[in-house]
Amino acid sequence: MSLQVAGLSKRYGPLLAVDDVTFTVEDGGALGLVGESGSGKTTTARIIAGLERADAGTVMVDGADRAGPARGRGQRLNRARQIQMVFQDPYLSLDPRLTTTEALGEIVALHEPGSRHSRRHRVAELLDQVGLGQREAAALPRQLSGGQRQRVAIARTLAARPRLLILDEAVAALDVSIQAQILNLLIDLRRQTGIGYLFVSHDLAVVRYVTEQVAVMHSGRIVEQGATHEVLARPQHAYTRLLLASVPRRGWDPAAVSRARRDLHDTTSDKETV
């Protein structure tokens, strides 16, 4: 199942949040959508997931456009099995009243009704897939750590057996030691199931571990796209270069980066005036 996004645009009042965005995620491929806050990356992801409506453009999956509202239960479920989404904040992305098992069971019942036994079996399989044990299965969200909650959120999306997973800053809120666990889980899941990823992130270093392709967004537009290692090694656009230079590392000079940023903003429109 490949995802083809073409000419996507979305305006909020005077702000053109998404401006003629076009990209493709191949079947089982992984594309990083990188940008800062206000770049339009999250709005793009939400349009593809069906949470927002685009003003213009198409979101094609296997030749069918899914940009319009879903008609009927059948189409709703069908779209759910195409694309699922993991959100940034593990504290708000789970219903606080439901235990892990209840949350997963409900979605299994929606997508694969069957017998009680088969449902229970599927929930156990999902828990196993994301590395959660008995204790976590019986726990409410508030009894789980951030990393464990994000595992629950991932298991919940897998319940629909989607072909593509949108990960919207899915590791940004996690501690470093936990972030690496979740990144490795995502890499393993993809290897095992052949699922595709649209990995939305502000962090180029993180994107490098999960994706082969990357698209860099700035002010609603894609300014550069290509193979991840190519873009990281030989960034063509000034904004990509600034983004790369902004990542702290040895010998990093914040003053030099801020000068580069001012130069870039002098040439493009400056959103951040006082």
């Binding site: 800062e36 030691s177 972030q179 666990q181 571990y209 702290p248």
Partner: protein
């Protein structure tokens, strides 16, 4: 004189937490020095930093000593505490929008402390506010003082917060994740602003962050905290070259990195090595080393006793296996 001297600080909250929020922390920040306090959620780094402001969680039990420019802060109340915050210590918080009254103009926000604490006239305070805004890189400061917080971007507002901290002329500046809520490209500007202000005044700075790579680039010395304790403290460069504590090593291998020069063109990416398990919650208080359940080199001793901090060649490490580790290459 040492700007900040924390000795054996322990902060407990018996009603809420089974383990101390901060346990037996000792840390110094000298004049003109930038010290990084690095740790993950619940490591106690923010509680430690706030202690320098005399800011403890309500009903916390505090033992040990926190001295700012020689003045004992623990137990300080009323007028003396206000004077400490008005003249000695200032803090820049993670979320600038949550730390400023949205209904007041930026100029009023900046001048009110100067007028109240120093008895300055309105005109004199305003002149100073404009000077400070210029220093932190706000264009047209004369216009900016008449604006409201919502008219500023997050990065610009954080500059205003830095200006208000500098207005105190502090001996010690506490920066608690000052760039975490900001965009990546804004981060560099805020750090450049903070560092140049710090260098110009030879001010002491305690920089609290979860980002070890970031701390290493801007700090002279780094203390790494885990579950309320400082597990390792070293000069920044050496911490990177030769991390001693298994937790520090784990953090370094778990951090996603951009390709260095040589492997840039290759599409192969060496996998990340996560730290196993999960952080200790406040409800857990196991005997022995708090990191033992996650430690790759754990031995039987680890669960038996809390490791003592050993100092050698300017590095201090709290690990039962420190003797084997110190001096060994990372």
């Amino acid at each position: 004189m040492t700007a900040l001297a924390i000795n054996n600080l322990t902060v407990e909250l018996p009603a809420v937490a089974r383990r101390p929020l901060v346990a037996d922390v000792t840390l110094q920040v000298g004049a003109g020095e930038v010290v990084g306090l690095v740790g993950e959620s619940g490591s106690g780094k923010s509680v430690t930093a706030r202690a320098a402001l005399g800011l403890f969680p309500p009903s916390a039990q505090v033992t040990g000593s926190v001295r700012v420019a020689g003045t004992e802060v623990v137990g300080l109340t009323g007028q003396a505490l206000r004077r400490l915050r008005a003249e000695q210590v200032a803090m820049v918080f993670q979320d600038p929008r949550a730390s400023i009254n949205p209904l007041r103009r930026v100029g009023d926000f900046l001048t009110e402390a100067l007028r109240a604490n120093r008895g300055w006239s309105k005109a004199k305070a305003l002149t100073r506010a404009v000077e400070l805004l210029t220093e932190v890189g706000i264009a047209q400061p004369g216009v900016a003082v008449r604006k409201y917080p919502h008219q500023f971007s997050g990065g610009m507002l954080q500059r205003v917060m830095i200006a208000s901290a500098l207005a105190v002329e502090p001996v010690l500046l506490l920066a608690d994740e000052p760039t975490t809520a900001l965009d990546v490209t804004t981060q560099a500007e805020i750090l450049a602003t903070l560092l140049s202000a710090q260098a110009e005044r030879a001010m002491a700075m305690l920089f609290v962050t979860h980002d070890l790579e970031l701390a290493a680039t801007i700090c002279d010395r780094i203390a790494v905290m885990y579950a309320g304790r400082i597990v390792e403290e070293q000069p920044a460069q050496r911490l990177f070259d030769a991390p001693q504590h298994p937790y520090t090593r784990g953090l370094l291998t778990a951090t996603p990195k951009l390709p260095a020069g040589g492997d840039a063109a290759s599409s192969d990416v060496a996998p990340l090595v996560p730290v196993a398990g999960r952080p200790l919650s406040l409800a857990e208080n196991p005997a022995g080393c708090a990191f033992a359940p996650r430690c790759p080199i754990v031995v039987d001793d680890c669960a038996a006793a809390t490791p003592v901090t050993r100092v050698r060649d300017g590095a201090s490490v709290a690990c039962h296996r420190a003797d084997e580790l110190i001096g060994r290459d990372a």
